[in-house]
Symmetry: C2
Subunit: 312 residues, 2 copies
Amino acid sequence: MIGKRFDNNLDTMFGLTILGNNSALPAYNRHPTAQVLTLNDQLFLIDCGEGTQMQMSLYKIRRGRINHIFISHLHGDHYFGLPGLITSFGLLGRASDLHLYAPSALEPILDLQLNCADTRLPYKLHFHALEKSLVLIDEDSFSVECFRVFHRIDCWGFLFREKRNPRKINVEATEKYDVPVSYYNRLKQGDDYVNDDKITANGALTFPNKPSRSYAYCADTLYNESLVEIIKNVSTLYHEATYLKDKQEKATARFHSTTIQAAQLAKLANVKQLLIGHFSSTYEKVEEFLVEAQEVFPDTKLALEGQTYLIQ
Amino acid sequence: MIGKRFDNNLDTMFGLTILGNNSALPAYNRHPTAQVLTLNDQLFLIDCGEGTQMQMSLYKIRRGRINHIFISHLHGDHYFGLPGLITSFGLLGRASDLHLYAPSALEPILDLQLNCADTRLPYKLHFHALEKSLVLIDEDSFSVECFRVFHRIDCWGFLFREKRNPRKINVEATEKYDVPVSYYNRLKQGDDYVNDDKITANGALTFPNKPSRSYAYCADTLYNESLVEIIKNVSTLYHEATYLKDKQEKATARFHSTTIQAAQLAKLANVKQLLIGHFSSTYEKVEEFLVEAQEVFPDTKLALEGQTYLIQ
């Protein structure tokens, strides 16, 4: 019973697995962009470059748990793996609905591809066109918003927010006051414990919980400080860093960012942790990206393929 | 000089490199269909499943030498790697024309993909719609034909024929009769040597050459003996063998073939060598495919990724 009660307070798993960290041209065994965000037993796929389904096999991603796919924009290195994944879901006999959030121009492409292959998916594919900043998903335990970023073509960022109960159970106190386990969820929401005519204040039975965790994804984009307001205080920010700092002019010309720019935005937004990726294929090694970004924002990590980063 | 003269008789390289040998669902680190045919200094890409450009890097294919791409049909495992390859050619600064031979429904898909990415290719992409059996390319040194195979959707096979000179130089004889090297090409075509009023018969100066080599590609298809007439006597036949012989009913229901059927067609067509591939992802190991096919046609090989098979 104690074990069960403690489980009620356990953090759910919140982590990000990188499947691809390279920019447009695959190089040095780095793959185009794809990330899997795990929140408890749900997986969210963010972008889906060519080869994503093979990377999922390599890194043992349980693809059946993906119910939501988010495509930032329609440059091929962010979605050319999607038709294959959608088709493979069908071949694997998927039955549950799949929700796809992407710029509207993707829908007729997928329709043509499915039609000319005479493919009838055994599951329902819901296409949600990204047209303005809004909350895409609002569930009990999490929400997902989209927001505009600044690329050569229509491009979107995504913000995932865990919804945490405001209070955590104080097990010693609930045992002392003999509060039944069935009451725990109300306590976690902040309710007092009412038993007949006796009221025990919530504060005596719970502790304040930690703030909710969040993940913001910004790729591909120019450096733009208007993003700060949107991503302020997130637990983990992924921001593209296609080039090292000496290539800022090139980065700007191509609507991309440098190491320093990604780190500067993380600093202004007061995030806890920064992940950088989308490395240009002109670089064989990427260690220098970390050195440069950490000069501005020490809590930076490189987004490396096959690695999982805890969001905390 | 002797060396140079002998070079004139040397066989050109004619070989097939397998980049993917699996059917629809990538499995056991086997990739969807893609093959590169090398004829002298030209490369021909046959089908282009997802991940083909990464496989090209892995197996060090000189992709800049590819000027012709052939897509058999529009199931994703035969073309989902094509948009990425076409885009990467652009990023790599390709300037030379690229010829694409494929079912007509592919063209609007590629157009949409290029348009929504605002991609302007720095090279010219020529789309040739496959609509009837015909000679697609007829050059001095080779020809390529397409022919219908028998799949659930419109599907094409391809037949590559080397054009060999009918005669080979007899170096001892040409030296004895003092024939200039500039005359060799005419001798190889069968001309007599005419010097002022003196005629030396071609037969005295040359040997008969070996017959021209050829490669036929049949995927994906039902077993159908009407193909025999088309692929008769080819040097190497690739025929799909998606299933082992005990799954013939399943193979037929899905418009595919078994090991035995591929081998039987090779035998009826009197080909020199059979390659089988497009293995179903239900099989972890593929050795049994070879055992079964060789029962009917001993000169069978498995199409294995990264392997190059000489066509002779």
